[in-house]
Amino acid sequence: MQISYFTERPYRGLDEDEILKNKAYFAVPNALFDREQAANDYNYYLDEYCYAEELGFDAVALNEHHGNPFCMGSVMNVEASILARITNKVRIVLIGNPLPVLKHPLRMAEELAEIDLISRGRLVTGWVRGAGSEQFFNNANPAYNREMFNEAHDFIVQAWTKPGPWRYEGKHFHYRHVNPWALPYQKPHPPMWIPGVLSPETARWCAEHRYPYLGLGTALGPTCDLWDFYADEAARHGYQAGPENFGYLIPTFLAETEEKAREIGKNFVFGGGQNAFSRPEHTLPPGYNSKGAIRMLAKHPGGSWLGVSPEKLRAQSDEGRPDTTDFDTVRQKLLKGYGKAQKNLQLLIGTPESVLPKARTLLRVLRPSIFVFFNIQGPVGDEDRKTSMRLIAQELTPQLREYAKEIDLVDPFERAPGSVAYRNGVTRDPVVDREPLAALGMAG
């Protein structure tokens, strides 16, 4: 079992009303940026990752977003480089570099090789397509997003493994002289874990490449469905998927008392939380989504996908009309969502005692061997953040490790993903346990 620590590194100096007024984090004007606040936050978060190492987490995880106070990691490899030097034993997990948005896979191969070398082989690298808003921010053509993702990935693996120099003429990338001098410390290259929000295309791609898939706080029922889909794809590729193929990231906040945890935990919906990452028109750039995904959005009027429902799309068309948003009403609505997310086990809030059975349920149902704790969002002070980390590490994690051992959650370092052969004609082993879902009202 790999227990990892993650934070979005939120910018902590922004008035919530500014986010509500903008109806999203993305596109909040940077006139509101304060350099002292940002300098403090960046330095604090690096210290916090060191504290995670001290507390015994197996890994620290970073991500990257652009032009967005929701996440300060606009160039994740910079932070990863620093952590490579100032930490000693934690794995550095990148979830992940947005390949189509960054548009320069050779440079990416070099940057990551340096991080792996400086850390002496502690890098776990992951890739993402980049959020919809990042296509706009980086002027990356959304209609080529998936193609560029695939091509950049294939190129990087080659750049790390195929002796140079050689020439590359692809569809989206062209290099005259591929011969990076710095190659990764790990051979043939660092492991890759792929985060996602339930796109079947990504899960299929992961299964094909035998890469673990990490669900990012996704709803339990659909996550089970996706795990099954991955496992079926894995069987088609000749192997039996197991816990080593799956990871799960869960927003978690612990405190000494239930009351304090519940009160501070509300910051997970600060400004609208994850669902307010960007407005619908920025979330769904043209061509970014598969035909299947667009068809699903078009045909399910009540459905919501990536936090964008047809209702939200309709509401967006009210552009230009006077804004009559009452922020208190919005906050009340957000708090309802906060309660619902806890009930659905998409947020763990409480004391170690109250959260333990819920975390055990997640492990039992999803059987992930990579479990990532995502620390609180919003303007929460250093001490409260650290208290939660300490309680997770010292009071929750030891019991979860025991339970993981008991239910055989073998991680990717203990058993290579894709190394268990699947025999044709034999029913594949289950990868999830749906039994507890009925009691949670999530069956069916």
């Binding site: 080529y144 061509g287 667009i294 959005l297 068309s317 552009e319």
Partner: protein, 261 residues
Amino acid sequence: MANWTEQKAHIAEAELTLIKGGAGKPLFMLHDELGFPGWVKWNDALAAEHAFVIPLQPGFGKTPRLGWVRSFRDLAGLYSMAVREMGLDPVDVIAFSAGGFIAAEMVAADPKIFNHLILVGPMGLKPEKGEIWDIFPVTIRTHLRRTVADPGTAEFGSIYGGEMTPEQFEAFEDARAESARIGWEPYMHNPSLPYLLRGVKNVPTLLIRGAEDQIVPAGCVAAYAKAIDGARAVEIANVGHRPEIENSAEFVKIVQDFLAS
């Protein structure tokens, strides 16, 4: 209003879907970045003397997407082949918005391909002043609303009014995706196009723009007027990016007069 048919033509390995209707001298029509809005009043008004040939853009639903088409210039090359293979050249052309961009690329490459060139609210050139409004970071509803000065226009309502069906939503998303694929960067223009347009001589050219157009600024039309020798610009008052439906009577008259010239 049913004097049109949908046909297929095999052009350059593409199964091109064409709308054909009317009678008389062929009129090649290039629709805008949202797709063919349907056969409406102005088509009917011109159909008595003009035989419309309207290719439905690859990737917009009816004609399959062509991976090798990666720019408006590539698409113009395909359409030029289509015009030649159908034996239409030289042909009169009327082209709207991004369709205007395609027609401009066609005439820049081969000035002899068109008899008359009509560009309506054309994209394709960097405006001398202002910007082509960014259609991509908005939803389709916002985009549609912005194409007209008056959303109460009856024909706008009959084309786009009511609840959007899943099929319409999908068709719009197809069109937006394909427009992004070939027009994302530089955004809906080609920096080399004005230079090539300077080689276009003796092609009667009419530039039409709605005075209240919120998609394509006047600076775009000004850039075309400067680039194409002898081009004439006409502005229709009180209408937006769709003068053909917001004031179809005046639009049709301007077009008829020009084509008869």
